[in-house]
Symmetry: C2
Subunit: 136 residues, 2 copies
């Protein structure tokens, strides 16, 4: 019980990830070139979506939402083998959004480090030292 996955809010298993982490990962993967959704599913493995894979429907829906928000633009690629692919590329707005995400994620990183620092006993909990007189 509780080994990498939680007794999930989502039926069987749910990874403990950063909230909406999928969005900045897609933006980052799209930064260098045009990619289609199915290929992004593979690229996401690199960012913690390997052990806890994200569902394909979530990726496709997120891509359509990003396009609706002007962060990416898509075009159909009908040539080549297999069913047609929708190729996405990042827009200027999407690049700015990625930058904003990164700024937030650096803050998240600080918070996470502080939490682990306190857990490891290297820092006291502030409200405890300021309210020590209450119960000690």
């Amino acid at each position: 019980m509780r080994s990498g996955r939680r007794r999930g809010p989502y039926g069987k298993a749910c990874p403990r990830r950063i909230g909406r982490f999928l969005e900045p990962c897609l933006l980052l993967l799209l930064r260098s070139r045009e990619v289609h959704g199915y290929e992004l599913l593979e690229g996401l493995r690199e960012f913690g979506f390997g052990e806890n894979p994200v569902d394909s429907s979530t990726v496709y829906r997120m891509l359509r939402a990003l396009e609706a928000g002007g962060q990416v633009i898509s075009r159909w690629e009908v040539e080549g083998s297999g069913p047609p692919r929708r190729l996405y590329r990042l827009t200027h707005v999407g690049g700015q959004s990625l930058n904003a995400w990164v700024a937030d994620l650096r803050e998240t990183d600080k918070v996470l480090h502080h939490f682990l620092h306190v857990y490891d006993g290297h820092a006291a909990i502030e409200y405890l030292s300021s309210k020590k007189e209450n119960s000690l």
Copy 2:
């Protein structure tokens, strides 16, 4: 637009936090002594819930859920001034849960660092180098 908060999934604003980060924070704050909910609201400011405060209802509901799961135990404190307080303390199960959370959060930390590393251009995206022949 998009400055620390998102055009929210939640009406006005929603912080980009670690998923369910509230739970391990409460467990960590309860590790050292008995605390009541209202006091935990103040202690949470230390863990990134200062700029984007968590709603009190969320904290109280989480505490009841933790108690239902045997991770904390509560008792009423009727003495003292003000309305009665429900004092919570960590159980052994809760301590184990905290340890499991920390293990997961260290993984989250690795993923986050990798993301920022790639963003800063210090690492290539793996699926790009392995599939270069596709479009380049």
